[in-house]
Subunit: 288 residues, 2 copies
């Protein structure tokens, strides 16, 4: 097989729900990037090959490391150190990262543990809570480079589903944002999380009656969802320092909501964490 430890180019493939991305690298230098916005929930080697082809890889097949929705290897139960998880060989040129799982409460992380490994590689000896917003948002308690436990929320996928539902679509389309409406909905949801469906009916009613702006409607949806999640994740962030790993969408509502609770939040560059994680994984493959 091709040697991933050498100077030859290699590929990193990140299969996240709703977005697959790939990088062509030489050492740690990025030679090319590609992405696909339509990813099946269980992508196969054909999906990976289609994505890698977009990188314009050399004629000799490049060694490839895949993270995310591979389903190629049994996930590692927590507590576990993301920086020590061994990528599994799944083909002559290909390794896959197995993800993390937890038995109680039942939870599964596929891909985010790579970003945690990247963050910890760049921030040695960091203890605290890492929040990774996405279609599924994960909160991971990290101590001594180990994910001790994590809690997952389907908040991002809920927001996406509710935005496209016929009764709310007209009210929620657009890009405006009403910061005051977000703060108010957040506070309401943290104290009365059971009122989520009532808040959505209110959005529908007011939008139908023409008394609600698109910016307020979107802010109320995200305020309601984020507030409920923060109320449920309180044991994770209360009295902790929190690192947020994710692009501005979907991370920004979390940053605003946590700041509003007085929680010290570190924003990070998600792409940088992802690449640091892939480089970390590549070093482990080379060492085996």
């Amino acid at each position: 097989m091709t040697d991933i430890s050498g100077a030859a180019p290699w590929c990193a493939v990140d299969l996240a729900p709703g977005q697959a991305r790939a990088w062509l690298l030489q050492g740690e230098a990025v030679l090319a990037r590609a992405s696909l916005d339509t990813v099946p929930d269980a992508p196969d080697s054909g999906d990976v090959a289609a994505l890698v082809a977009r990188l314009g890889t050399p004629a000799v097949e490049a060694p490839t490391v895949i993270s995310g929705l591979t389903g190629a290897a049994a996930p590692v139960p927590v507590p576990a150190k993301p920086g020590q998880i061994t990528p599994v060989r799944i083909g002559p040129h290909t390794h896959a990262l197995p993800g993390l799982c937890q038995s109680s409460p039942p939870a599964l992380m596929r891909g985010e543990e790579l970003r945690i490994a990247g963050f910890l590689a760049l921030n040695p000896n960091w203890d605290g809570v890492i929040c990774l917003p996405g279609a599924v948002t994960h909160w991971a308690q990290v101590s001594a480079e180990e994910v001790v436990s994590f809690q997952s929320f389907l908040t991002g996928a809920m927001a996406e589903a509710l935005t496209t539902t016929p009764l709310l679509h007209a009210a929620l389309s657009g890009v405006d944002w009403d910061g005051d409406a977000f703060a108010e909905a957040l506070d309401t949801a943290m104290s009365r999380p059971e009122r989520l469906a009532a808040g959505l009916a209110g959005i529908h009613a007011e939008a139908t009656l023409g008394t609600l702006s698109g910016g307020a409607a979107r802010a109320r949806l995200f305020g309601g969802l984020t507030g409920a999640e923060l109320a449920a994740a309180r044991p994770y962030w209360l009295g902790q320092q929190v690192a947020l790993i994710g692009p501005d969408i979907p991370a920004r509502p979390y940053a605003e909501a946590l700041a509003r609770q007085g929680v010290p939040v570190t924003r990070t560059d998600a792409d940088r964490m992802t690449l640091a994680g892939f480089n970390d994984a590549r070093r482990r493959i080379s060492a085996t």
Copy 2:
């Protein structure tokens, strides 16, 4: 115009979110029925005409009464007596019912007030709470034939949206039902409604790991949504008698959940309430 009070056939059209239905009647006798499962959120006269055409109406255009998503007339603010709302003439042969609205909390009911009018016509002097499950579920406090206030929840549309979201679709498709899982999720949601998104992430994780049956997944989704709604609607049902107007889907989870709280629940035949409401409205049109 055609006389709706006479012996000639007339049409009743109910435009609900996701389902439009029509009846051809002579007096109170049903001559024909038709339905459409794809209804735009703001149906127009063309949609109504297409539905009415399915009834095989006589050559002379029949007088028609429309309820639901017409948007043809300003809704009536509560408190209001559904049995005294005057249908509005919107065409030479057509009347529309205007719906109910409430300023605080902002809420809008379009069509369900017709079923309430039908229920009250069939149950004179009934006081209590009427729950009408649907894409938007309404809880109406009824006293002296008047809707004093109501509270709406987008629970049905949420269930539909979440069932079709890619991350949950495989787990939730099917028709199985696990009653124990429903009861457990219901109790959890009533005490910890903020955990809805965590529960959905759990469904996704366990279904992906192959440790969750479809019946348990569906029961958990509906238990979580119904439990949160019951927690929020507690002032409506606590210590009250509740009449449920709706077909088995979506009414059954509500019936099970309310029975579990010890609330006396009356199930009703939604079609019968709808037709009683239309007949009631027709009598008011004739009297004008």
